[in-house]
């Protein structure tokens, strides 16, 4: 029975940490006042680039860097189109998603049909480096040890990134300026903040972070390319919802990841739970899987509506989100 709970809690973290990467990256972008709907595509490109080059080099570090750079380049494209060229953010973001996912299939098909074939993750050096690290002593604690202290390095990295980002927003001067841009770019501009530079840097870094999340998905799904299913599998879209649920705060995003992850894991593990606790949780198997899948979006919809109905002053939604800044329109 304890095993079931341990596995359940463990799965929440293992299968949902990419949401944290996606969400943290998107928060960074949205804080600069840009709404990037291209999370799914950005993650897909980072995933496929990082995986393939990472497999060649046999180094997880190289894989992460490549994912970061590849997705960062996608971010650069988004920044160039929306900041410099003043293109519409929704349209650009959506196109990045279609483009990115199509890019994944294109590369995947091309490599699978080539002579060298698609590289298999199992037994590779990359796989070895991705395996869980058992933190000495801590990982020996029952339940908690397995749940919290025996994970792949990329899981710890994701949490570290979210915490660092929180510190950056709250405690540093550039973080403050960034938030000012998201709230009122005109005012920030008049204070001498270089808006375009700030937007570029944060869109690129935010996209790069998403890329590592994509790489995680690739590795966690065993790195096999299927012609019909993209690794990212909608996590990019859930990340966009999670940004709202986390109220644009990277620290709340950690919590939010586990809450959304909880529902996601319930969908997969409802049967073992119902069997382990027949008296209290028998009803779990009666709930359709689609309900759990839809739940993040339903919750976010409710949060969106309630916070606007209540004219919630606690909402950290950047006021200038989604609008391009063109100085001469000011």
């Amino acid at each position: 029975m304890l095993d079931v709970i341990t596995l359940f809690l463990f799965s929440i973290i293992v299968y949902n940490i990419p949401l944290l990467y996606g969400t943290a990256g998107e928060i960074m972008i949205e804080k600069s006042g840009s709404l990037n709907l291209g999370v799914e595509g950005t993650m897909a490109i980072g995933a496929v680039a990082g995986y393939l080059i990472g497999m060649r080099s046999g180094s997880l570090l190289v894989a992460c860097l490549v994912s970061f750079v590849a997705s960062g380049l996608v971010g650069l494209l988004f920044a160039f189109l929306t900041v410099t060229l003043q293109a519409n953010q929704n349209v650009t973001g959506l196109t990045i998603t279609t483009f990115g996912v199509a890019f994944y299939y294109f590369i995947g098909n091309a490599v699978s049909n080539s002579e060298s074939k698609w590289p298999a993750l199992g037994g590779s050096r990359l796989d070895a480096q991705f395996q869980p690290l058992e933190i000495p002593l801590l990982s020996k604690i029952p339940v908690i040890g397995k749940v919290l202290f025996s994970h792949s390095i990329l899981i710890y990295l994701g949490i570290v990134i979210a915490i660092l980002m929180w510190l950056y927003f709250e405690k540093t001067n550039p973080g403050l300026k960034l938030r000012a841009i998201g709230e009122n770019p005109g005012a920030a501009d008049s204070l001498g903040v270089n808006i375009a530079m700030y937007k570029y840097i944060h869109i690129i870094i935010g996209s790069g972070i998403m890329g590592i999340g994509g790489l995680y998905m690739a590795l966690n799904m065993g790195g096999t390319f299927e012609g019909s299913n993209c690794w990212i599998n909608g996590y990019g879209w859930i990340s966009i919802a999670l940004v709202i649920f986390a109220n644009w705060s990277p620290s709340k995003a950690i919590l939010g990841t586990f809450i959304f992850g909880f529902f996601n894991t319930l969908r997969v593990q409802n049967a073992p739970l119902a069997t382990a606790f027949p008296k209290t949780l028998w009803w779990l198997t009666n709930i359709p899987a689609q309900f759990f899948s839809a739940l993040p979006f339903i919750i976010t919809l409710i949060v969106l509506i309630l916070s606007s109905v209540r004219k919630n002053n606690n909402s950290n939604e950047p006021a200038a989100i989604g609008r391009n800044y063109y100085r001469e329109d000011r």
């Binding site: 709907l37 998603t97 483009f99 996912v101 199509a102 919802a241 979006f297 989604g322």
Partner: protein, 367 residues
């Protein structure tokens, strides 16, 4: 200080815009050709097949043309509908969700209303679809108008909620679930009764579905609506500046809600027609028109004729890539999306080059 800065061109020339667009598209196709060549595919052959949607030298060319029209009609109507809301700067990206709820409503009618003549059944299906989609759109507009709820994010959430609703219907084998095929042990969506399936006008072997005619009529109607009616004028003013509209005594909230109803109802109509034409529904019935429509409306600069032309081109691209993909194992129909992305990126760049110009600072001062 920077020496150069961006200035909006004082005169927008359509000719310049078209030339820049064309250059952008040619460059994109060039990039696509390089990608194709890198896979060992002859790009000329591929593009040839794509642009002719596989009709040349094909005994069943009319089948291809029918297939192409089935891709075009929902895309065309959805793009026009989304364009309506975008004109007010109302970011309805919920085309997918509005389409899905429309398709579900049409299917409810199709499975339950029997014994009526075909045209009546199909019209009922379309009305049900339009009402359900329209109401969903009005609900979003209501929250936007009343509480300034972010419509982009709300419609995005609704897309996924609707997707899971239809997936649920398609995967749940229960007695009450009339959507499913009763004869199949596995849950699959059932086929509509004969009277709910659209027919058309036979021209030789070619079957011109009624939905195509409806779509063409709609293009004309929407053009007139936007150009020559008071409503159309109001939409334009609200899009230009909601404050101006308010000052001029227009009821902005009412205009937004009305337009969103029309916009979503049209997407519902597209869904009803598509469901009837395919004789069933599925999770993939939208064929992503809710997403692609956004791009099409934008590429068409929200002008009705331009959106119509763009959706024809995008439908050629999508259907063409699908037919071409069957010939080449190393590529799949997703290449259409890749190409579409590259085209949009370069067209956005072209758009910028046509709207803005780079000037030296001193020049600007003198001007």
């Amino acid at each position: 200080m920077k020496k150069y800065h961006l200035v909006r061109r004082p005169v927008q020339s359509i000719k310049r815009l078209l030339v820049y667009y064309l250059i952008g598209i040619v460059i994109s196709l060039g990039i696509g050709a390089i990608l194709l060549a890198s896979l060992g595919i002859n790009p000329f052959e591929y593009y040839g097949r794509m642009l002719t949607i596989g009709m040349v030298g094909n005994k069943y060319a009319y089948k291809n043309f029918e297939g192409f029209l089935k891709v075009l009609v929902p895309l065309l109507i959805t793009s026009l509908a989304l364009g309506l809301s975008f004109k007010m700067r109302f970011w309805n990206i919920g085309g997918e969700g509005e389409f899905l709820i429309g398709a579900i409503s049409a299917a409810i009618v199709a499975f339950n209303v029997t014994g009526l003549p075909r045209p009546v059944t199909i019209i009922l299906m379309c009305v049900a679809a339009m009402l359900s989609s329209g109401l969903l759109g009005v609900a979003v507009a209501f929250f936007k108008v009343k509480f300034n709820t972010n419509e982009t994010l709300v419609t995005l959430m609704l897309n996924y909620i609707m997707l899971y609703v239809i997936t649920y219907l398609g995967k749940t084998k229960e007695d009450w679930n009339f959507f499913l095929d009763p004869k199949s042990a596995r849950p699959i969506f059932g086929k509509f009764p004969e009277t709910a399936i659209m027919d058309g006008i036979k021209i030789g072997n070619f079957n011109l579905l009624w939905s195509v005619i409806v779509a063409i009529v709609l293009v004309v109607l929407i053009y007139i609506y936007l150009k020559y009616t008071k409503h159309g004028y109001e939409i334009a003013v609200v899009g230009d500046s909601a404050a101006t509209a308010k000052y001029a005594g227009m009821k902005v909230g009412k205009i937004i809600m009305r337009t969103m109803f029309i916009s979503s109802a049209l997407i519902g109509l597209a869904a009803g027609l598509t469901a009837s034409a395919s004789g069933t529904i599925s999770e993939t019935i939208t064929n992503n028109v809710g997403w692609t429509g956004i791009v099409v409306a934008w590429l068409g600069k929200l002008s009705t004729p331009a959106i119509a032309i763009t959706s024809v081109l995008i439908a050629i691209l999508q259907f063409g890539c699908k037919t071409a993909a069957t010939k080449y194992p190393s590529i799949d129909s997703n290449f259409a999306d890749l190409l579409q992305g590259i085209i949009l990126f370069s067209v956005l760049t072209a758009d910028f080059a046509a709207t803005f110009t780079i000037k030296k600072k001193e020049d600007a001062k003198n001007a």
